[in-house]
Symmetry: C3
Subunit: 154 residues, 3 copies
C-alpha cells in the first residue's frame, strides 16, 4: 500500500534534486512513458491540454535537462521548493493519485529572493519494480503570468 | 488516539478546500458549536478576545461563505496555504490540542503573487462520530497589519 | 530507530521556539558540544569552513541568545519558519543524518512581511539519554546576500 509518508518522502527527494542542481537525476523520478506538464489553474479548469511545458516521456525530460545545461540557464538562478503534505485521493499497492501544494522561491545570482510560483502538483504515482515513480505530474500554477520566466522544472 | 499524521492530513484537506475555491465545504471542518477567529500575535499575547474575524458556530461560517460569494470577492484573488507539521500539545482518543505554522500566498487576478500572511493556527480538535473536527481554530497572524486585506478564510 | 516523523517533530518544536520568541529554549535542542553554523550555498560548495554565524558549544548558543536579548534586537522583528520533510541520508537507533529545506519569513515591527531566507539544514542528530538532539546543524542559505541582516537564529 502506497501511503502518504512514502509520497511525501518521494516529493522531498524530488525537490532536493532540483534545488541542489542535480538536474540530471530529475528524469529518474518518472516512468519511461510519463506525462509532465506545467500549466496554470485557468487552463486546468477549462481543460485546455497544452500547458507551458510539456513532456510525454522520460527521454523528453532528459532532453530538457540537456538543453538547460547547454543554455547555462542553471547558473543564473536556483529554486527552493517547499511542499505540503500530499492529499491522497486514492491509493493501493500499485500506486496512488494525490495532489500536493507547493511554494517555490527563486534565488537570482545577485542573491535576490522572491516567491516565484505557487500551486499544486496533481500526480499519478506508479510502483515499478518496487520503486515509486511518477506516471503523471501536472504542476498547476495559481498565477497565469509565470509563463515566460519558467526555466528550471517545478 | 489522534496522532500528528491525522492532524496533518486534516490540515491538508482544509487548505485544499480554500485554495481550490470549494469554500462551501470549509464550514464542514468545524464542529457545530465552534470558535473560529483570526487575530494577530500582539492581540493574542495581550489576551484580547476580539480578533479580526470571529465566528462561534458552523452556521456563522456558512453565512460568511455566502457573503463572500455574494460579494464575488472570491474572483478577485486566491490563496495558497503552506502548512508545517502540527506541534501536538496533548492528544487522546477524543481529540487533540495542537499548533501549526502557516504561510499563505495571495495570488491576485492580475497574476501578481505575494506572501500575504504568516502565523500559526492554535487548534482544539474533537473527534465527533469518528470524524476529526475543529472545535476551535485561532489563526494568529504574525503581522498586525494584515487586517484590512482579509477576505478569504485562513 | 530514529525515523522521519521524529525528526520532523523535532524540527517543528525547534522552529516554534524561535518563532514564538522563546529563544532561551533554543540551545536546549543541541548537544553540549555541538556545531551550529549559518552559511550560504556558495561557501558550502567550496568547503569554506567559516560561515556567517558559528558556534561549537551549547554555551556559545546561550551567549548568543543573551546578546540578542541585551541588544533588544528581538523586539524589532520576528521570524516564521516553514520546513519541509527531512530527507534522511542515514539513521539508526543512535541518531540520523538528514537535510531539511526551509523558508523563513521576516515580519518587521511595522508589520511588513518578506521572504527573508531560503535554504536547507544539513543536520546530524544524536540520541542522548533517550532524547533527540542536534550534534550539528548547518543552515545553508540559498542566497549569498542575507549576511548582514541575520540576527535571530535560523
Amino acid at each position: 500500500m502506497v501511503d502518504v509518508l512514502a509520497l511525501a518522502a518521494f516529493n522531498a527527494a524530488y525537490a532536493q534534486v532540483i534545488d541542489s542542481d542535480r538536474l540530471e537525476q530529475w528524469p529518474s523520478f518518472f516512468t519511461e512513458r510519463c506525462s509532465y506538464r506545467i500549466t496554470n489553474s485557468d487552463n486546468a479548469r477549462e481543460g485546455l491540454p497544452a500547458g507551458i511545458v510539456y513532456a510525454d516521456s522520460r527521454a523528453m525530460l532528459e532532453d530538457r535537462v540537456a538543453a538547460l545545461r547547454e543554455a547555462n540557464i542553471y547558473e543564473r538562478h536556483r529554486y527552493r521548493h517547499l511542499l505540503g503534505l500530499p492529499f491522497v485521493t486514492s491509493a493501493d499497492e500499485h500506486g496512488a493519485v494525490a495532489s500536493t501544494p507547493f511554494m517555490v522561491a527563486r534565488i537570482m545570482h545577485t542573491g535576490e529572493t522572491a516567491l516565484f510560483a505557487t500551486g499544486e502538483y496533481r500526480d499519478r504515482f506508479e510502483r515499478v519494480e518496487g520503486r515509486l515513480l511518477l506516471a503523471e505530474r501536472v504542476a498547476v500554477c495559481d498565477s497565469n503570468v509565470t509563463d515566460t520566466l519558467l526555466a528550471l522544472p517545478l
